[in-house]
């Protein structure tokens, strides 16, 4: 999808980025399992060995793609939850928390295979190893806001972990046969209220 300025026919210009994008697209098409360095190179009109100028091995490519996943997630957060407002509006704080959760769950649902890569064996854990704020950081901001509105007590690490767990669990479990009837989008908000209830009871 995303074309990265192939400034030259020979010397391909930007093979590294092309490989990453190819892999990202494969993941979005649910074809990650079938990914092969050779096929990727072939389809990019390049010899197999060329890929190894940019990645020491296949896993390095996958790991790099996983990092891109965390970058995308961070971008999704930025677009969804603007944090420039300093207003102490309770309804706003709740909405922002729900929006954060929704962004997380949506990303997991929309990029299932990339998601598994991000938290899989190459799993930077969810810190993302990125220079951008992680999910944990964003969550901290949201909870602090809720605390500022006196909806919950000032969040402690275990509370932050609790909220994260609940949201992460939803992300993983969505689409599971046991919940076939439940529309996730509508229920995320409801689940967020439950999380807030739990934290509110901890005064």
């Amino acid at each position: 999808m995303i074309q990265t300025k192939p400034r030259d026919a020979l010397r391909h210009g930007n093979l590294k980025e092309a490989l990453i994008n190819y892999t990202l697209n494969a993941a979005d098409d649910g074809m990650l399992a079938d990914l092969s360095v050779r096929k990727a190179a072939r389809e990019l009109g390049v010899s197999p060995g060329a890929a190894y100028r940019h990645f020491p091995d296949k896993n390095a490519l996958l790991q790099c793609v996983a990092e891109r996943g965390f970058d995308s997630l961070a971008t999704a957060f930025e677009h969804t939850v603007p944090f420039d407002s300093t207003a102490k509006d309770a309804a706003d704080a709740r909405k922002r928390f729900a929006a954060l959760a929704m962004a997380y769950v949506s990303f997991a649902g929309a990029h299932r295979e990339l998601w598994r890569l991000m938290f899989g064996p190459f799993g930077l854990g969810p810190s993302g190893a990125s220079d951008r704020p992680s999910t944990y950081d964003w969550l901290g901001k949201c909870l602090s806001e809720l605390a500022n509105c006196d909806i919950i007590a000032p969040p402690r690490p275990e509370h932050q972990f609790f909220a994260w767990s609940a949201i992460h669990g939803m992300s993983d479990l969505q689409g599971s046969p046991a919940l076939r009837a439940q529309p996730i989008a509508a229920s995320v908000e409801r689940q967020c209220e439950l999380i807030i209830c739990a934290l509110a009871a901890q005064s």
Copy 2:
């Protein structure tokens, strides 16, 4: 580890089970990525093609192993949470709920790679496709017990999903760098209390 009666040297006796056990052991050793049908066959003293008499392809073997995972999990539940008591003791109900969560989290932590297989792309979802009661079922029992003790309201599906999400999230996120200092075992109980708090507030 687990030897399955090789009742014969020739005709190997029980190749299918041997392959499954080999794969289970590989998963517990964190070597699932390196699993190869050929190597497995070789190490079991059998030709590569023999394996394909028992599984149509490699994925079928992995899927079968994933099912074994759900079986093990069910067994863990049975050993940890005896449900023959009909006593309406509130403390007992809480303990059982915590024990269920602990069994879930422990299993995920002890069999990391098998866990990912179970919820991965071959992911029977968590229904397990088994004839034994699933996590969702066990969770339902626990919540009903809590309701019987008037600790929470009679659980609705979204509450069951909420509890499951929180527990599943913990399982996945444990060992993540962001929580490096937190000892999971000690905090599971605490998190369970938070879940109960949330459901208790829904009267």
